[in-house]
Structure formats: structure tokens, C-alpha cells
């Protein structure tokens, strides 16, 4: 009986990869554990092993084939009696069910609007990961005081490849691997910032930043005030925040509302490549401590992004990603994409949704939110984090305090469920807010079924 070797998922968020090299050829005998190919993912190049004994009957993809979806057959393994001729080459890149559910790609131009205050000339499609890297390398070229430190940022090229290439360009003085001691290196970053350097401190995920929370809050956020304005702390703490995929409660927490709670910090949560680049550049230039909440699932997604090195997005300004008149959806980070998907579905049932991408959580662009509410009279807030004391709760309060009389329906929250993130795929899906949840919430506030 023949056996299909499938494109493996080599990380929790991997959707596709490149077969960079075959280490076997057709007709080769392999035993379980033999290396058969090199796979390049968006994070790393890894070797894969045969998991069964047999003979390589057919290689189904060529060396160098890119964008091979996870679970696509890449080779056929034969038992001794089988003939190669009996096999039919299968098409590659066929979307499997698993890949399809993850498939999601929106460009910011799909929802073009006139509200963007900066209109750069050239756009290029790049991933969020590349946009973040470009933002850092451009700013490091401009300002020698900017440096990056964190776990695996240098020689490993970044746990999520965000810092790829930075060590080669800037050397180990400015691209610095740290031991796995978040509290210590965050504090060293804060001290360096007090001395007028401009550190970018990468946390492998913001879950681990809990180890450093004292330095972030008590030292970075409060010292300017406690010093009567003397001790600025120009530092950026960045890294992935919120759920990735199947990594459990200790690796999936959204800390947006935790940081947004604290005066002295600015808190940014980009969605697209454009957001990532324009906001990270602004964050690095900002003289204050910045919490820059990225999203692992978005790293590999591509969006049109301005190429201009002077492109900056102002901190504290939201962007209306889609203009609409019936309901306002307020979202940030990955929920912006889901909100835009929901808006498309709503269009078909006659609801014209406006989608606000907050971009910055502190200071919150209340003006954009309130103006939109005055127009649509209905609001749905969207976040991955827990509902209790969440960003949605804050937005709801701001709306009640300022534009209560404009509301035609209660402000409604779509949020993660109030549970630690489960590992099981079905439960994880239930715990996270989905497009359907947004659609249903919008229908509810528009009183449509």
C-alpha cells in the first residue's frame, strides 16, 4: 500500500511553505527517521524525516516550489511490491480543508477611503513581518541610538523571523541576544532609555512580558511623572500578543486592556503591513514608553504597504477602514480583518457597516469613534481579549458618557470568552471571537434577524 507524505505544519501558525530541497530521489529506499527534504517556512528552514519505511515512489513537488499548503501530498512512499507507474501525479497547491479555514488575505486597498491623512505614492505588497523588520531597519539606519534586544533576535534571526537580517546589517552591538530573563533585560532596557538610548525590547510573546511587568509599569511608565518631567523613557516593548494557534492559555493571552489601563504608556495594536510599518516607525521615534502589540497570525499575511521611508502613521489616530452608515464596528489588530469580512457578509443582507481600525489603544481616538456613532447610532466592539474590563468595556463607557442620546441600540461587545484559552481545536475556536459573532452582533443592534 502506498503512503502519501504530506506537507507538514512546522509551527502553530504555519499555513504553507517552500520545498527548498529534496534530500532523496525517486527509487530511494528510506527508513523511518531518514531526512527526506528541507522545508522553508516563513520562520525557518527545517529538515523533515520519513515517518514510515519504504521506497520513494514519486516526488509530487519540485525543488523550489513555493506556497505549498500544509497537508498537501508532496511525495508517495511505496511498499516493496508497488510499482511507480500506478501512481498519478496529483496537483499541488490544492487547498485542503485545514488550509482553507486559515486562508485569509485582505489588502488595505480593498477598502480604500479618503480619510487617510498621508497618501504615499508607491505601494508594495509585503507581509506584516517584513513591514515590522523594515520599520526597525529604517529607523536604525537613521538613528544610531536605536538598538534591539531580546531572546533570539540576533543569531537565530528572530523567533518569528521579525528581526531577520538585522544582525548582518547592524552587528552585535545593536542587535543583541539576551538570556531568557525578561525581567532583567526589560529593566536594562529601561535604564538604557533613561540614559537617552532608544531600545526596542522584543518579547517572544507578551505572555512572557508578565515576568517584566514591574519594570514596564513601575519603572518605564511612571518615572516621567515621578520625576516631574525629567526622566523620559524612549523605549518600545514589542512582540506578538493574543492568540496564535493551539498554544494554550499561557501563550494566547491578549494584554491590550492591561497596558491600556496605565497612564504613562502608549499602546499600539497594528493590523495591516501599513499599520505595522507606519506605527512602529512612529513608536521608535516617540519619546515615551510604547507597548507595541503584534499578532502572530498576522505576521505572514500580506498587505499593500507604502514604500516611502518617510511614511509614518500618527500615534493616537484611528483609521476608518470601511465607510458605512448603519453600524460602527470598532476593532483592533486581527479583529480588523475579521470585521471587514463581517462587513462584506452584512452588505449582502443590507447592512452597511463602518469599520474602525483603532490602531492605537492609548491614547484612544475617541473623536473618530464618537463621530462614527453619531452617524450610525449603533456600535459593536471587537477584541480577542476577555470581555471583563476589556477595551470594549472602556469604549462602551466612553460612548455612554458622550453620545448616549445618539444611540439606537445598546453598545454590544464581541470578545474572547471569559475562560483561559483551551488547547482543543474545537474549544479554542469557540473561545475566540469569529466573523459570525460580529455578523450576529451587528444584526442584533440593527434589529435584523
Amino acid at each position: 500500500m502506498s503512503f502519501e507524505i504530506l506537507m507538514p505544519a512546522l509551527s502553530p501558525t504555519m499555513e504553507e511553505g517552500t520545498l527548498s530541497k529534496w534530500l532523496v530521489k525517486e527509487g530511494d529506499e528510506v527508513v523511518s527517521g531518514d531526512l527526506i527534504a528541507e522545508i522553508e517556512t516563513d520562520k525557518a528552514t527545517m529538515e523533515i524525516e520519513a515517518v514510515e519505511d519504504g521506497k520513494i515512489g514519486k516526488l509530487l513537488v519540485e525543488e523550489g516550489d513555493q506556497s505549498i499548503k500544509v497537508n498537501t501530498p508532496i511525495a508517495i512512499l511505496l511498499n516493496e511490491n508497488e510499482q511507480i507507474q500506478t501512481l498519478v501525479k496529483q496537483p499541488i497547491n490544492e487547498k485542503t480543508e485545514a488550509a482553507e479555514t486559515l486562508e485569509f488575505n485582505v489588502t488595505s486597498n480593498d477598502f480604500s477611503d479618503e480619510l487617510q491623512d498621508i497618501t504615499p505614492l508607491n505601494y508594495k505588497k509585503i507581509t506584516v513581518r517584513e513591514a515590522l523588520r523594515d520599520a526597525m531597519s529604517e529607523e536604525m539606519r537613521l538613528d544610531n541610538n536605536v538598538f534591539i534586544m531580546g531572546e533570539e533576535v540576533a543569531e537565530y534571526q528572530g523567533a518569528y523571523k521579525v528581526t531577520q537580517g538585522l544582525l548582518d546589517e547592524f552587528g552585535d552591538k545593536r542587535v543583541i541576544d539576551t538570556p531568557i530573563t525578561e525581567h532583567g533585560f526589560a529593566g536594562i532596557g529601561v535604564g538604557a532609555a533613561f540614559a537617552n538610548l532608544k531600545p526596542i525590547v522584543e518579547f517572544m510573546t507578551f505572555n512572557f512580558a508578565m515576568q517584566a511587568i514591574d519594570q514596564i509599569i513601575n519603572s518605564a511608565a511612571k518615572t516621567l511623572y515621578m520625576s516631574g518631567g525629567q526622566m523620559g523613557c524612549p523605549i518600545v516593548f514589542r512582540g506578538p500578543n493574543g492568540a496564535a494557534s493551539r498554544v494554550g492559555a499561557q501563550h494566547s493571552h491578549c494584554y491590550a486592556s492591561w497596558y491600556a489601563h496605565c497612564p504613562g504608556l502608549k499602546v499600539i495594536a497594528p493590523w495591516s503591513s501599513e499599520d505595522a510599518k507606519g506605527l512602529l516607525k512612529s513608536a521608535i521615534r516617540d519619546p515615551n514608553p510604547i507597548i507595541f502589540l503584534e499578532n502572530e497570525v498576522l505576521y505572514g499575511q500580506s498587505f499593500d504597504c507604502p514604500e516611502d521611508e518617510n511614511f509614518l502613521i500618527p500615534i493616537g489616530k484611528a483609521k476608518i477602514e470601511k465607510v458605512g452608515s448603519d453600524v460602527t464596528i470598532v476593532a483592533f489588530s486581527i479583529m480588523v480583518g475579521k470585521s471587514l469580512e463581517a462587513a462584506e457578509i452584512l452588505k449582502d443582507i443590507g447592512i452597511d457597516a463602518e469599520v474602525i481600525n483603532l490602531r492605537t489603544l492609548r491614547p484612544l481616538d475617541t473623536e473618530t469613534i464618537l463621530n462614527s456613532v453619531k452617524k450610525t447610532n449603533r456600535v459593536v466592539t471587537c477584541e480577542e481579549g476577555f470581555p471583563f474590563s476589556g477595551i470594549g468595556a472602556e469604549i462602551s463607557a466612553v460612548i455612554n458618557e458622550n453620545v448616549f442620546d445618539w444611540l439606537d441600540a445598546p453598545v454590544t461587545r464581541v470578545a474572547g470568552k471569559d475562560v483561559p484559552m483551551p488547547y482543543a481545536a474545537n474549544l479554542e475556536k469557540l473561545a475566540l471571537p469569529q466573523v459570525d459573532d460580529i455578523v450576529n452582533a451587528c444584526k442584533k443592534v440593527c434589529y435584523k434577524n
Binding site: G187, G191, Q215, S219, S227, G228, Q230, M231
Partner: protein
């Protein structure tokens, strides 16, 4: 009870190598700190100073000895027991006292208080209220000295209590690994608040914990300002030569409670009196000065001048206005 510190009068014979002017300067600085702290205690009792107020009385030799080897551009960071460090850094006693009274002319415009004061100009980076948090910050300042290729060092003071904090050891590891020019000064005054070192800390001397990280250390009689100066000179030389961090454990003693609200039931009055009588750092240096040709009359003049300075600071601190209402929303972020 076993005493960690030397109870003998400082080694009088060792003074021959010291410039008498320097000795007198150090004496005056220690005295200034003591008089400042006594006045702060007094104002606290009068209700002019609120909240926590941690006095440095007894420990003056540590900061004054180390300060005497600092060069322009060196930076200092310490805990909440910070008044002495600020005075040692030549910060104005008026500005420090006005911060204690919560007034606009304080170093933090009255918004920081006793534990949170800073002066970029004088290289003093706080004044930190979280036990141990200043240690990685001090290493960060050292990182900046190295990054900027200066010859400067960072001096990070912390107490025996902080010496058990995890972030101290994370910092030891990184500072040693990256050869950061930082002197970790453990001011071991024998009590972390009300808990004696032997009830809180395993092992022998706190400084020895640097061994595992390959950090050189010395244990110093922190009541002897000259011993402090000598040891910190060696430590600073090590750091400036690019050899990485150095730990100095200063065996010292605080005469007052942990803070003004501490009844100090955890030690006997006799214990405190013994130290005051036999090991007082100011008295020790005074004896040396007297044997070096300085007269009682000279020292009395010094003392009077210092008292005058402190009285002026106290008056200034009480007359300075409270911060205006609009200060409430200032300095949260830089616009």
C-alpha cells in the same frame, strides 16, 4: 548577637596617604547628610513630610566614600533610601527637602516624594520605590556608558533585602556576560525592613553570590569611609578597564528604623547604641582629622555652616508652594 561590622575605630594609621582636604570634604559631606536626615525626621514629626521617609543615618560612609572616586559622567541609581545619595551627588539640599514636603520646588515638582527623585544634571537616576528594580536599571545605565564608548561607570546601590530579589541575579548574569561597567553596591545594614539578614538570606556573605556569575567582589567595612573609598577605587578601576561588573558588599548599619513609622522592635536599643558609640563613621573620620592637624574649632565651624545650610533648606521647603492644580495632568507623557 553576632555583629558583621567592625566595632573598632577606623584604622587611624592608614590616613597618611590621604589628602587632608579630601578627608575634610568627605567629613563635611557625611555631616551634611546626617544633619539633613535629622532635619527630615524632625519635619516628618511636625507633619510637614508625609508618606514614607527612610533615613540614611549611620550609613553615610558608604555613599560618601564611593562618591569620592566618581568622575564626571558616572551615574548613580539607588533604592528608596535615597536622600544621602542625592546629597552625595551634590544635588541641592533645598530641592531635596522641598520634594520631601511635596512642593513645586522639589526635584520632582512635588510629584515624586522621598522615594522618587532624579537629577540628570548630577547623574542621579533615582530614587526607586520597588525593591531591587534599580539594579537592572543601573545595568542599563552601564549599558549606555558602554554603548556610547565612554569611560564612565554606573553605580547601582541596593540593600540586603533587595539582594534576594530575582531581578538582581538576572542582572548579574547579563552584566557579567556583556561586561557592563557597573559596580553593584550592596548596602548591608543588617535588616531588610524588620527582618535580619540571617533570617532572610541563605549562604554566607551576600557578595559571594556573585561568584557563580564570575563577578569579582569585596566585602568592606562600610562604617569606615576610607576603606569604602579604597575598595571602590579598585572596583571602579576594574569596571573602567572593561573587565565587567564588580560587587561591593558594604557592612553598614542604620541607626533609625526602616522608615519613620518603624518602632524597631526587632533589635535592642543596646545594639544600636553599641554601634553608635564604637563605629560611627563620622566620629571615626573626625578622630582622624583631629590627629591630622584639624582643630575642634575648625570642625565646629564646619558643623555650624552645615546646620545653617540645612535650616535654610527646611525653611525653603516649607515656604515653597504646593504644585499648582494643572500639574496633576502634566508629565504623564512627553508630547
Amino acid at each position: 548577637m553576632k555583629k558583621n561590622i567592625s566595632t573598632k575605630v577606623a584604622n587611624i594609621n592608614s590616613n597618611l596617604n590621604y589628602d587632608i582636604k579630601l578627608l575634610r570634604k568627605m567629613y563635611k559631606k557625611m555631616l551634611l547628610i546626617r544633619r539633613f536626615e535629622e532635619k527630615a525626621g524632625q519635619l516628618y514629626g511636625m507633619g510637614q513630610i508625609g508618606g514614607f521617609c527612610h533615613l540614611y543615618i549611620g550609613q553615610e560612609a558608604v555613599v560618601v566614600g564611593i562618591q569620592s572616586i566618581q568622575i564626571e559622567g558616572d551615574t548613580v541609581v539607588t533604592s528608596y533610601r535615597d536622600h544621602g545619595h542625592m546629597i552625595a551627588c551634590d544635588m541641592d539640599s533645598k530641592g531635596v527637602m522641598a520634594e520631601l514636603t511635596g512642593r513645586i520646588d522639589g526635584y520632582s515638582k512635588g510629584k515624586g516624594g522621598s522615594m522618587h527623585m532624579f537629577s540628570r544634571e548630577k547623574g542621579f537616576f533615582g530614587g526607586h520605590g520597588i525593591v531591587g528594580a534599580q539594579v537592572p536599571i543601573g545595568a542599563g545605565l552601564a549599558f549606555a556608558h558602554k554603548y556610547n564608548s565612554t569611560n564612565n561607570i554606573s553605580i547601582a546601590y541596593f540593600g540586603d533585602g533587595a539582594a534576594n530579589q530575582g531581578q538582581v541575579y538576572e542582572t548579574y548574569n547579563i552584566a557579567s556576560l556583556w561586561k557592563l561597567p557597573v559596580i553593584f553596591v550592596i548596602e548591608n545594614n543588617e535588616y531588610g525592613m524588620g527582618t535580619s539578614v540571617k533570617r532572610a538570606s541563605s549562604g554566607n556573605n551576600l557578595a559571594e553570590r556573585g561568584k557563580g556569575y564570575g563577578i569579582k567582589f569585596e566585602i568592606v567595612d562600610g562604617m569606615d569611609v576610607l576603606a569604602v573609598r579604597d575598595a571602590s577605587e579598585r572596583a571602579a578601576e576594574h569596571c573602567r578597564a572593561g573587565k565587567g561588573p564588580f560587587i561591593l558588599e558594604m557592612k553598614t548599619y542604620r541607626y533609625r528604623g526602616h522608615s519613620m513609622s518603624d518602632p524597631a522592635k526587632y533589635r535592642t536599643r543596646n545594639e544600636v547604641e553599641e554601634i553608635k558609640k564604637n563605629s560611627d563613621p563620622i566620629e571615626n573620620l573626625k578622630q582622624i582629622l583631629l590627629k591630622s592637624g584639624i582643630t575642634e574649632e575648625d570642625l565646629k565651624l564646619d558643623n555650624n555652616k552645615i546646620k545653617e545650610t540645612i535650616n535654610e533648606a527646611a525653611i525653603f521647603a516649607q515656604e515653597s508652594p504646593e504644585p499648582s492644580i494643572d500639574e496633576l495632568f502634566k508629565d504623564i507623557t512627553i508630547n
